[in-house]
């Protein structure tokens, strides 16, 4: 009995212990459950808003849609700077099992350069998770087909289409249009980074740079839902980008190509203006380069070659080249002299073939002295002085006017100052005067320097565009416009900005223009060679500018000096003389004389006037 009772007591005790342990276990469970519930409450109620935002940020990405860059077309609407679809090959690290090996495969297949790999590395360092990092840019259809056709099958490789700038006419227009290049860190410092999010290129030089704010446009945005792998599932909200504005140029593609052809291998520049608007019909600087090279980043060796070339292909000679204008200033000096009554059209000056300042032994030679051993004639009047480019006449005139009066009369024609053309890098040149020399060189003016200034030599420097602009004033008999490459930005006309006209007697214009007509159309004119078979009247002026100064009494011998020391040949002209429709300025670097320049002008004017189908 006691045994049974003991067993029962044991059972009872076991049961008691068990119950107390059960209660302890339940209490422990409830305590842990309380912590758990509190945790879920805290996540789902207290921090709900934060996590909701987090969740949205996870799946919703604001993506910038870069605007389409405005295109550039010529006066007839032909595309000069277009947007070409190209392909970008990118790498998404998260989707590749072995990113390093993948990059290796791509390097081999795409023949990636060290520069491309370095750029890829830099972009990779800034990437977001699941973002495709471009490794090869600017592949066109053909390249994609040959080299990358099955690449998208590799995990981690994405092939994306995008628009890149394309200059279909390459070298012919590089100096006019300039080019775009990859947005660099320096660019971002001055650009509005908000507007350039997602944009890969920006204008670096030329029109592309000058009109950058208009060409660029405004980016759009879209809220896209993506999954964890970055795949876009749907667009939730979209604000379309505003495309950049299109530029319509005054420039005529055919004329531009004619000018390129006319210059041929000749180093130099051509500027053709429309005298009625100041619009640039053609602007060539030779040699040139292919702007397309710069779009995706020019290779170091290519750039070094362009940069180091003696021919300075990167220099836009039309606006950046500074040359002594030579005799092309003579018509302008004449107009000033007529206006200020230093001469009349009938004033005659004796011409022995040289000029000597009173009380000075030094002889200033006329160019005829070398050719004919004598002057142009016994006496020379204005018309003949211009037609035959009589130096003696202008030595004398310059001496009588003095350098400051000469600077004053040349200044309204825009010599020695930027024209304000709508491109980049334009240079001033120099219009010398006593004040200029004191300021620039800290020296007094010497009378002898006035004499050479009279024939556009010495300190005087002008750009081909300035010469063309001055010729436009002559063509318009005083009317002047700011030279402009761009005619319209979308529908807004930006070209044809008028300057205050230069008031001058009609007779004075007539006298000078008559001389310029004789330059071409008189048998003794300095550009008579181009008169043959011409179907319209040309008014022109030749010029030769010295690259090296010739010692006193030394004879200039073309053959004896090296090519790069030969004189530059210049020619400015407008046509037809009455009712002019084209103005041309040509400089043939080291061309020897104006004979290298004037046929170029003729060819361009022929192209424009004979085929002119639009006014």
């Amino acid at each position: 009995m006691a045994g049974t009772l003991g067993a029962l007591r044991d059972t009872r005790r076991e049961w008691m212990i068990n119950r107390s342990r059960l209660i302890a276990a339940v209490l422990a469970l409830i305590a842990v459950l309380g912590v758990l519930v509190y945790r879920y409450y805290s996540l789902q109620i207290t921090q709900h808003d934060d996590f909701m935002t987090q969740s949205d940020r996870n799946r919703i990405r604001v993506e910038v849609i870069p605007p389409t860059r405005g295109q550039i077309v010529d006066r007839k609407g032909r595309l000069l700077a277009a947007n070409k679809p190209t392909f970008v090959i990118g790498v998404v690290r998260e989707r590749s099992e072995d990113p390093a090996a993948l990059v290796g495969i791509l390097t081999e297949r795409l023949s990636l350069t060290d520069r491309e790999l370095k750029a890829f590395q830099e972009r990779s360092d800034r990437r977001r998770p699941f973002e495709a990092v471009p490794i090869k840019l600017g592949l066109d259809d053909a390249a994609l087909a040959t080299v990358a056709v099955d690449l998208h099958q590799l995990p981690g490789v994405v092939v994306d289409a995008q628009l890149t700038r394309d200059y279909p006419y390459g070298e012919a227009l590089s100096h006019v249009l300039g080019y775009v290049g990859r947005v660099s860190a320096e660019d971002l410092a001055e650009l509005d980074t908000e507007r350039y999010r997602g944009t890969l290129h920006t204008g670096k030089v030329g029109l592309e740079k000058r009109y950058e704010p208009l060409l660029h446009g405004k980016p759009g945005y879209q809220h896209i839902e993506t999954n964890a792998h970055g795949r876009v599932l749907r667009v939730l909200e979209k604000q379309a980008p505003v495309p950049g504005k299109n530029l319509r140029l005054y420039l005529d593609l055919d004329l531009q190509r004619e000018a390129v052809a006319a210059l041929g291998d000749q180093r130099g520049a051509v500027v053709a203006l429309d005298p009625l608007t100041g619009g640039v019909l053609a602007m060539v600087s030779n040699p040139s380069y292919d702007a397309n090279l710069f779009v995706e980043g020019i290779s170091y060796s290519d750039y070094a070659e362009l940069r180091g070339s003696l021919d300075t292909p990167l220099l836009n000679r039309a606006v950046q080249g500074q040359y002594p204008p030579g005799s092309t200033v003579k018509p302008l000096i004449s107009l000033g002299a007529l206006a200020r009554d230093f001469i009349t059209p009938d004033t005659e000056i004796p011409d022995p073939g040289w000029y000597r300042l009173p009380g000075d032994d030094r002889r200033y030679r006329d160019w005829t002295l070398r050719v004919r051993g004598t002057g142009h004639a016994e006496t020379v009047d204005l018309r003949m002085a211009i037609a035959e480019s009589c130096d003696t006449y202008y030595y004398d005139l310059a001496h009588r006017m003095g350098i400051d009066a000469m600077a004053e009369v040349l200044q309204p024609f825009g010599l020695g100052q930027r024209t304000g053309i709508d491109t980049t890098g334009e240079q001033d040149g120099i219009l010398p005067s006593t004040a200029w020399k004191r300021a620039a060189l800290g020296e007094p003016w010497y009378p002898g320097e006035t004499i050479s200034a009279g024939i556009g030599q010495g300190y005087m420097l002008t750009t081909p565009l300035q010469l063309a602009q001055a010729a436009m004033v002559l063509a318009n008999r005083g009317e002047s416009f700011v030279p402009s490459v761009v005619h319209r930005v979308d529908d807004l006309t930006v070209g044809g900005v008028q300057r205050p006209p230069i008031p001058m007697d009609d007779a004075d214009w007539q006298a000078v223009v008559a001389g310029m007509v004789d330059v071409v159309h008189s048998p003794r004119g300095t550009a008579a060679v181009i008169a043959k078979g011409v179907g319209y009247q040309i008014a022109g002026k030749t010029g030769t500018s010295q690259v090296v100064s010739i010692a006193q009494d030394a004879i200039y011998d073309e053959d004896a000096i090296s090519e790069r020391n030969r004189n530059h040949g210049l020619f400015v002209a407008f046509a037809p003389v009455e009712n002019p429709r084209i103005v041309v300025a040509v400089i043939a670097e080291n061309g020897g004389g104006s004979g290298a320049a004037s046929p170029v002008a003729r060819q361009i004017m022929d192209a424009w006037l004979n085929e002119a189908s639009d006014a």
Binding site: I17, N18, L29, L43, H48, F51, S55
Partner: protein, 379 residues
């Protein structure tokens, strides 16, 4: 017979009414009802987590069916049979565990599987069941409450397989298997001073364990718990994304099948270990609380079965199985919510997976057997 049965409270009423089909099958309806509710809800969550993949849902149903078959069979077994066979089962499982390092096949740097031709299984899963069976048998055999010497031998019985599992390495399972044995010891009435000294000893083991036992990835998981932001795309990704999923669910959730975190693949392991995050995102806190309520019902019933069990063995076994089940739920939900390290513990009856479901239902079969044992005795 009637006079004998008077010893047992309420037994007249048992005899007064006819046996229901469930009783005849040895099934505990009160235990199974909330369990079936959890399974049903789980299938819905799985459907969403698998992005509407019927195949996954069908396979899970198949897992349930197989598990139920096991449950039905196990529920018929008499408790003393378990008690008798426990050492054999335990030693067999231990042997298999020890074979794993030599014949095992691995995945992700851990060897956990044994392959028997077509069937691959984890000996550690068998040990989940064998451990409480064995420990309960051992302590009951040596007399309750356990004497200190019994406690020591019991701890050895627990530690041996736990260590074997930990070296696979599968720290999570090792801890849970160890815990299921420890619960038996606790319920058996080991004195509190023994418990506290044991706990102190365990704490003292943490430092050397960190230095010598834990692998780098395990340390990583624990460190990640404290600072998931340190490696947003790597180790911290899972926990950040699961917290985001849970937190963005709010009170009422984003709606069924509307969870962006899971449907857009931000949530890792969304069909298995992290499935509670899918439920929390789509059904909100109220869904979480409802699920916890169902689990609470299951655990309550399990503890009631323990409370009313006829034998010490049944009591100990029922409480150990039930508490382990509760710990599974808490550990899983705790790790997904970022308050426990990420150990591979599925959410019972909700996470996708064949082995764990069969093991769980096997345990519930034992619970059913215990629950109906009294009636067997009383007959």
């Amino acid at each position: 017979m009637p006079e004998y049965s008077r010893f047992f409270e309420g037994s007249d009423r048992d005899f007064a009414r006819a046996q229901t089909p469930a009783e005849r099958l040895h099934l505990d309806v009160v235990l199974l009802m909330p369990m079936l509710a959890i399974m049903t809800a789980g299938l819905f969550v799985l459907f969403s987590a698998s992005d509407g993949d019927w195949d996954t849902v069908n396979r899970q149903i198949r897992n349930f069916v197989v598990g139920f078959a096991v449950l039905l069979v196990v529920a018929q077994i008499r408790l003393d049979t378990f008690q008798r066979w426990a050492p054999t089962l335990y030693l067999g499982a231990l042997l298999l565990l020890l074979l794993v390092p030599f014949f095992g096949v691995g995945a992700k740097g851990a060897q956990r599987w044994l392959s028997l031709g077509v069937i691959r299984f984890q000996p550690s899963e068998i040990m989940k069941i064998a451990m409480p069976l064995m420990v309960a048998a051992w302590v009951v055999r040596n007399g309750l409450p356990p004497r200190p010497s019994t406690t020591v031998t019991t701890l050895l019985i627990i530690a041996l397989p736990a260590a074997a599992i930990a070296t696979q390495p599968d720290l999570g399972t090792a801890i849970l298997v160890g815990a299921s044995g420890a619960f038996v010891v606790f319920m058996a009435g080991v004195s509190w001073w023994q418990i506290f000294s044991g706990a102190l000893a365990a704490l003292a083991c943490i430092w050397p364990a960190w230095l010598f036992l834990l692998r780098d990835y395990q340390k990583q998981r624990i460190l990640t718990l404290f600072n998931p932001e340190a490696d947003r795309l790597g180790a911290g990704w899972n926990i950040i994304q699961s917290k985001t999923a849970i937190g963005s669910g709010g009170w009422s959730g984003k709606g069924y099948l509307q969870g962006t975190q899971s449907h857009l693949d931000f949530l890792p392991e969304s069909q298995t270990d992290f499935i509670i995050a899918v439920l929390a995102e789509e059904w909100g806190l109220r869904g979480v609380l409802l699920l916890l309520l169902l689990y609470g019902l299951v655990v309550s019933r399990g503890l009631w079965i323990s409370f009313t069990a006829q034998t010490s063995y049944g009591r100990l076994l029922a409480s150990a199985i039930t508490l382990t089940f509760g710990v599974y739920v808490l550990v899983n939900m705790g790790m997904v919510a970022g308050i426990l390290p990420v150990v591979g513990v599925p959410l019972p009856f909700v996470s996708f997976g064949g082995t764990s479901i069969v093991t769980l239902l096997l345990g519930f079969g034992i619970l059913s057997a215990i629950s109906t044992e009294k009636r067997v005795l009383s007959r």
